[in-house]
């Protein structure tokens, strides 16, 4: 399976990446997606998560073809 992982704004800048595709062997959680991409730290507490462009929690399940995004608190408007 393939999962697209996206990072935005200051988080993307800090990690030095904005998008990548991972190929896990089976279904996994958002937390495990993060761990697959950012090896050396857990999901920061203030980071927001979206799965397929809907807000989600770190324990949400991720399936083949999903898009998982991590980003800092939003500041629009």
């Amino acid at each position: 399976m393939a999962v697209t992982v996206k990072f935005f704004a200051s988080l993307s800048e800090r990690l030095g990446r904005s998008e990548e595709v991972i190929k896990p062997k089976g279904p996994l959680t958002v937390r495990e997606v993060w761990a697959a991409v950012v090896a050396d730290e857990p999901v920061p507490e203030n980071v927001l998560i979206a799965v397929n462009m809907e807000y989600a929690r770190p324990d949400a399940e991720v399936s083949d073809g999903d898009e998982v995004a991590f980003f800092p608190p939003v500041t629009g408007g």
Partner: protein, 146 residues
């Protein structure tokens, strides 16, 4: 009912957008109240002069989220029509950043729904501001209290 959500990469005139959009609405004769919020780029934030702003967003999710909350507001307050236009990219002082407008039969629904849309947009729509100061660049970490 019409929901309009638009992300703009260049400057827009909210008043022109509003009047043009209103002319196209199918609820002529039905609305008695229109509430409008316009957010404009300031020249200071957290005590520091700001020269310009660059707004990043999550294409796709932004439009999806704004459409969902517009629909929620229509259902909750029985609105007739809604409009949200939001800038991205480089924004200069005095330029409008966001325009939110709602049309309803009566004023209470219009005021409350407009406030709801603005507050939800500020706390949930995936936009991020980066400020260009006299000395350097900084990400905005939090929105100002209402």
């Amino acid at each position: 009912m019409t929901v309009r959500v638009e992300i703009r990469g260049s400057e827009f005139d909210p008043w022109v957008e509003l009047s043009r959009y209103q002319e196209t609405l199918g609820n002529q004769g039905k609305y008695g109240a229109t509430a409008v919020f316009i957010g404009t780029m300031r020249d200071f934030n957290e005590g520091v002069r700001v020269k310009s702003l660059v707004l990043e967003h999550y294409p796709g999710m932004t439009e999806k989220h704004l459409t969902e909350i517009s629909q929620q507001a229509i259902d909750r307050w029985g609105l007739l029509d809604t409009m949200v236009i939001h800038r991205v990219g480089e924004i200069r002082i005095n330029e409008p950043i966001v325009a939110v407008a709602v049309w309803s039969a009566h004023r209470a629904a219009a005021f409350e729904a407009c406030r709801f849309l603005v507050e939800d947009l500020k706390s949930h729509a995936p936009f991020w501001k980066r400020e260009y100061l006299a000395e350097g660049i900084r990400w905005v970490e939090k929105t100002t209290p209402g």
